[in-house]
């Protein structure tokens, strides 16, 4: 069965660039927030640029929180969260107040402390793969990826598959069974970023769970 990849449209940013990254590696992906289409998906991608609270509010108002919980936690569909889409799977976010996240991973999303390093953390930074994951298949350890963020994912090591360092060491890639997420932008990280997109698209539920 070929992959049916859905990119969740919830009004938060660079959906088209994620879509064209899938196209570049030979897959098509549909941008939508229609429940009936999302239910048919094999792969669900949650990208996002913007603020945590706004994002959760948008997901809620589109009825997507319950739908995603069912599709990801019960039906174990393959999930990829990118940037804000990774942060949203935490329990709580502290951007402009305290907000509940999807709560799939034990984590809080906190702001980098100001000074001496500049916030946001923007640019190419290396990622240390501390645990093997099919997401990083055929990608050399310590490769560089493109980051843009002011908040980081504070989580126990259990589900962390990649760390980066910006003043502090922080988790920048996660895998928990069928749930994958990256703080960096694979769609903007050229060769190895596109490889991550391809690795994800080529996975099957059976190969992971």
């Amino acid at each position: 069965m070929s992959a049916n990849i859905i990119i969740i449209d919830y009004g938060m940013g660079n959906l088209r660039s994620v879509q064209k990254a899938f196209e570049k590696v030979g897959f098509s992906a549909t941008i939508t927030n229609e429940h009936s289409i999302i239910k048919e998906a094999s792969h669900i991608v949650l990208p996002g640029v913007g603020a945590f609270g706004d994002a959760m509010q948008n997901l809620n108002s589109l009825g997507l929180v319950e739908l995603l919980n069912t599709q990801i936690l019960e039906h174990k569909k393959l999930f990829l969260g990118i940037c804000l889409g990774m942060q949203l799977i935490a329990q709580k976010g502290y951007e402009f107040g305290e907000h509940n996240g999807l709560g799939w991973i034990e984590a809080d999303v906190k702001r980098f402390k100001d000074g001496p390093l500049k916030v946001p953390h923007v640019g190419w930074n290396s990622v240390d793969f501390n645990n093997p994951s099919p997401l990083f298949k055929e990608i050399p350890n310590h490769s560089d990826f493109y980051f843009v963020h002011s908040y980081y994912f504070d989580t126990p090591p259990k589900h962390v598959i990649g760390y980066s360092n910006y003043g502090i060491e922080f988790a920048c890639a996660i895998q928990k069974e069928n749930i994958f997420a990256t703080q960096f932008h694979p769609e903007k990280s050229q060769t190895y970023g596109l490889k991550i997109i391809k690795n994800f698209a080529q996975m099957t539920k059976e190969s992971i769970c």
């Binding site: 660039s17 990254a21 946001p120 930074n125």
Partner: protein, 250 residues
């Protein structure tokens, strides 16, 4: 570790990418999408494209060609030229750009920077300042209005206060000359800003990049060296690495 970036900075004119020499005598580099594909293959770290038809000739922003380039660009893409309103920013980002580069409009109205940063975030705004040296003093230069009685350092500080994410400094005198970056200018800027400085204008050999980083540049923009010399982005980065600067090498 965060890396120093090497960024092609090219101009869009009559549906072609071009390179200027001291802001005049344009030389064609190639077709936009083909050129972006090559940059992508060569793993440059970002790309800046300035639409001079839109900025100088008041033509509408060429969203068709921006979309075509963005479709080939799997690295961050900054687009500038003729961006005057928040609607323009929406248009350019909607076409696939990741950041906008603002020059003339910010000189007229620095609060425009704040407006963009509030809606899209500081990481989205690059402020471009063109600088010319006259009688020993550096002054802001504008392509339309010519030399202005504005101190570039004061202008850069104002942009930072307004929420700019990065400053692109272009030396008009060095631009397209391969004489090396304007190091004297960089020395004046050193330790004055808390946001990254991208230096532009004059890179003719890899060692010029080393010298710029030694003197306070955070990132290097260039064009001539990529198209009219024997040096590749990879060779430049290897030279930077030899001098112990962290760069992304594949």
């Amino acid at each position: 570790m965060l890396k120093h970036r090497l960024i092609p900075c090219v101009l869009l004119k009559n549906w072609q990418l071009v390179k200027s020499i001291q802001f005049g005598s344009f030389r064609t580099i190639g077709h936009p999408t083909a050129t972006v594909r090559i940059y992508n293959a060569r793993n440059v770290d970002e790309l800046i494209v300035l639409d001079i038809d839109a900025s100088l000739n008041n033509e509408p922003i060429n969203t068709e060609i921006i979309t075509d380039m963005a479709n080939e660009c799997f690295m961050p893409l900054t687009i500038g030229g003729g961006i005057k309103t928040i609607e323009d920013v929406y248009t350019v980002l909607g076409a696939g750009a990741d950041k906008v580069c603002i020059n003339s409009e910010a000189i007229k109205n620095p609060a425009f920077i704040k407006e963009i940063a509030t809606i899209f975030g500081s990481q989205c705004v690059v402020c471009s300042i063109d600088i010319k040296k006259v009688a020993g003093n550096y002054r802001v230069f504008n392509k339309k209005d010519g030399l202005l009685e504005i101190d570039p350092i004061e202008l850069a500080k104002e942009y930072e206060r307004q929420g700019a994410g990065e400053i692109l400094l272009t030396s008009v005198d060095h631009e397209g000359t391969t004489l090396g970056y304007d190091i004297e200018l960089l020395k004046l800027f050193k330790d004055t800003l808390h946001i990254p400085i991208i230096i532009n204008g004059g890179m003719g050999k890899p060692q010029d990049g080393v010298e710029a980083l030694q003197n306070g540049a955070d990132a290097l923009a260039a064009a001539y060296i990529f198209h009219f010399t024997q040096y590749t982005p990879q060779m430049i980065k290897e030279e930077l690495k030899k001098s112990n600067y962290s760069v992304r090498i594949l």
